[in-house]
């Protein structure tokens, strides 16, 4: 259950990018950006400034992942008293609802991207 909630938050939580962007965007986008920068650095090497940028991107990503993990843990603890079937239905319903809303509405910015605002799939593409 915690893992499902964690995945949902990574995928959909409108996390504000603190530096080098103008969030909110899913934490997974933050990971994309960090991976893209890492790929450039792995190919081309890095100046001090680029290393700093890379550090900021990974710092933000890890922070977002950490917060998502804590929130997922808290939520799963909150519903742990419910019956297994109820819990499962609640979580599945929540996942479907959040995914539906995030897919349909342009609730995200796409920091460092080509669009001003995006829905979930545009933000992750």
């Amino acid at each position: 259950m915690r893992r499902w909630l964690f995945a949902l938050l990574l995928l959909t939580a409108p996390w504000p990018l603190l530096l080098l962007g103008d969030g909110p965007a899913p934490p997974l986008r933050s990971l994309w950006l960090a991976l893209a920068a890492t790929a450039v650095v792995a190919t081309e090497g890095a100046s001090v400034t680029v290393r700093l940028i890379l550090g900021v991107l990974w710092g933000q990503t890890l922070l977002a992942f950490g917060v998502c993990w804590v929130v997922a843990w808290g939520l799963s603890r909150g519903v742990s008293g419910l019956a297994v079937t109820t819990r499962r239905r609640l979580v599945i319903g929540l996942v479907l609802l959040v995914l539906g809303v995030a897919s349909a509405l342009p609730i995200y910015h796409t920091p460092m991207g080509n669009r001003p605002r995006s829905n979930l799939w545009q933000a992750l593409s």
Partner: protein
């Protein structure tokens, strides 16, 4: 007798100026040719979609569109969708001339990343730049400009050959656009120059120069910071590839943003730290005849704390370019050493020591637009510059720029006609001035025989030329004691199209000199005065109170010591008017006291440290007085 004298002076001035213009190109003579010269308003600093940082922030128009805009046509603005702009803008008044100066660095990389099928198009760097333009922007700038040892990306191939080869395309197009938009007919409506920006930035310290060629003869390829990482290297390349290497080639380099050079721009040292020598000083004095005193990224005249209340005009809260994203608090004093006024006075001392003054700069303003919008300087219509902190890719934001930036200024050249040769010679002899945007007219003469009754004289200019030197000139103190006089005349911006201009407040003369080996500066009001009842209504931005349409003075320096070098320039100041940010805040009806607060994008409107008003101005090029 007096008439005969006046006629003689006029003829003398005409004869003097007629010999000054040398044609280096085939073109029709201009029908509007005035040997006593006219002011031509232009912009020496324009980036288009050919510059990586402009394209990376969503600018698509190229040099052709930039020149059309300068001539008065509208230009498209972001957001762009399938080649169609989301908005457009046009100048209120066209410019007389402009120079597209895209960054020579990354010219090839930008073209490769834009062109499907080009070798390197599929590289990881180009993919990141296209897919995550904001990330690409910071990574590439960090890789090239903020590095002590900049180098090309691997997709450029061995020795960067592929990118250098790819850069030939945009360079050819830049030269072609300059030719296509240059009016070689007798109408002389518009002049262009071939140019580029050398973007040196060791350790984030701005050493940028715009390079301007006199006519269509230019370098085969522009010099780049990556291959030529020092100003000395740039000067050598210009001498080798232009001055000595190509017939009819002539060139100038114009430094800018010394305010964010961390003191490097005007250091009395060569790159690497060796002391400045006579040869280097002579080369610099030959090639660097002008300096940008104001532009989008701040004012470079003088810093806060220079003992001159007007120095607080558009100063930046950081001292090196790479600190742009982490500015200090407003009003915090910035260390001296990066400002033009300091350089002008330090140059006197260097001139005594080396026998040549490397900092004999004329003064101009320009925009540094990255939206391909030369001359877009109106405070009430500021659209930002898409350069650095505010991303215009998704459209011009409601608060269009970082609060400490400004719309930039204009370069004005006193020339016989609107042709390349006439304008270039004006740049070369420094008969130029800068404005913070308004089209103020200023004339400035100095001489030991200047008559005291010049103000109001119909032959002000003829007598000024005949009895002295214009702005940018050099006087030598005569053997006999003679009064050193300066004549300065300024005319308020006569017309701003659909918006009223602001009256003039005063003219000041800024004097710098050496005394017992120490540099000294004094600022004197010579015409008009600062009337505290003159101001501006912040709610409507309408100016009120007394001011002048025209000011003039003949000022004699009673303290001039003919045994010491000195430098003098004039500063013409308007009454207070609304800063661009105030127009933005008014347009959006921001009320900082309202319940519910202010939208985040307009929060700068409620920053108590943000200046509400400015005093627009013009700075003339100096007149130097060499000792007897």
């Amino acid at each position: 007798m007096r008439c005969a004298l006046a006629l003689g002076l006029t003829l003398c001035a005409l004869a003097w100026s007629a010999t000054a213009l040398e044609r280096t190109e085939a073109r029709e003579d201009c029908s509007a040719h005035d040997p006593l010269r006219q002011p031509f308003f232009g912009d020496t600093h324009v980036h288009t979609g050919f510059s990586f940082d402009a394209w990376g922030q969503g600018t698509l128009p190229g040099p052709d569109e930039a020149y059309r805009f300068a001539k008065g046509e509208p230009i498209g603005l972001p957001p762009w969708s399938d080649g169609r702009p989301g908005d457009s803008v046009a100048l209120r008044r066209p410019l007389d001339w402009a120079i597209v100066t895209d960054h020579s660095d990354l010219l090839g990389e930008t073209r490769i990343c834009q062109t499907p099928g080009a070798p390197g198009y599929g590289s990881i760097v180009c993919r990141v730049v296209r897919h995550f333009p904001g990330l690409g922007y910071v990574l590439v700038n960090g890789h090239v400009y903020a590095s002590e040892s900049p180098r090309r990306y691997s997709f450029c191939g061995e020795g960067g050959r592929q990118c250098l080869e790819a850069a030939r395309g945009p360079w050819r197009e830049t030269r072609r656009a300059a030719e296509a938009h240059y009016d070689r007919s007798a109408a002389c409506r518009f002049t262009t120059f071939v140019g580029y920006e050398w973007t040196g930035m060791p350790g984030g310290r701005n050493l940028h120069r715009n390079v301007v060629f006199r006519n269509e003869v230019a370098q085969e390829a522009p010099t780049t910071y990556i291959e030529t990482p020092t100003p000395e290297g740039l000067w050598q390349a210009l001498e080798r590839e232009c001055l000595a290497g190509a017939p009819r080639c002539d060139v100038l380099a114009i430094p800018h943003n010394s305010n964010v050079s961390g003191g490097l721009m005007f250091a009395a040292a060569r790159s690497g730290g060796a002391p400045l020598d006579e040869g280097t000083a002579r080369t610099r004095a030959r090639l660097e005849r002008l300096v940008e005193i104001t532009q989008h990224k701040g004012d470079s005249e003088c810093g806060v704390g220079a003992g001159d209340e007007l120095c607080s005009y558009e100063t930046l809260p950081f001292e090196i370019m790479s600190e742009m994203a982490t500015p200090r608090a407003w009003g915090e004093p910035i260390p001296e050493g990066s400002y033009v006024r300091d350089a002008l006075v330090d140059g006197l001392a260097l001139g005594e020591k080396l026998g040549v003054n490397p900092f004999r700069f004329g003064l101009i303003g320009s925009t540094d637009t990255h939206l391909a919008t030369p001359g877009m300087v109106d405070e009430d219509r500021h659209i930002g510059h898409a350069a650095g902190l505010v991303n215009a890719r998704h459209g011009i934001p409601p608060f269009p720029d970082a609060p400490f930036f400004n719309p930039g200024g204009l370069a004005v050249l006193w020339a016989e006609e609107n042709s390349r040769d006439a304008l270039f010679e004006a740049m070369h002899r420094r008969e130029a001035y800068g404005t913070s945007g308004p089209r103020i007219r200023v004339r400035f003469f100095g001489g030991f025989e200047l008559p005291q009754d010049l103000c109001g004289a119909p032959d002000f200019a003829a007598r000024g030329y005949a009895a002295g030197v214009p702005m940018g000139g050099v006087l030598r103190a005569p053997a006999t004691a003679s009064p050193l006089r300066f004549a300065v005349w300024a005319l308020r911006d006569p017309d701003r199209g659909d918006a009223p201009s602001t009256p003039l407040q005063r003219i000041q003369i800024v004097k710098g000199w050496l005394e017992d080996g120490e540099t000294r500066v004094r600022v004197l009001d010579v015409a008009g005065r600062a009337d505290p009842t003159a101001g501006v209504d912040l709610a409507t931005c309408r100016p009120h109170g007394p001011g002048a349409d025209q000011l003039c003075a003949v000022w004699e320096d009673p303290e001039h010591d003919p045994t010491r070098p000195a430098v003098y320039y004039a500063r013409v100041v308007e009454n207070p008017s609304c800063r661009w940010s105030q127009y933005v805040c008014n347009r959006h009806g921001v009320d900082c006291t309202a319940a519910g607060g202010t939208p985040a994008v307009l929060e700068p409107c409620c920053d108590p440290e943000l200046a509400r008003t400015i005093q627009e101005r013009a700075w003339t090029s100096p007149i130097w007085v060499d000792p007897r």
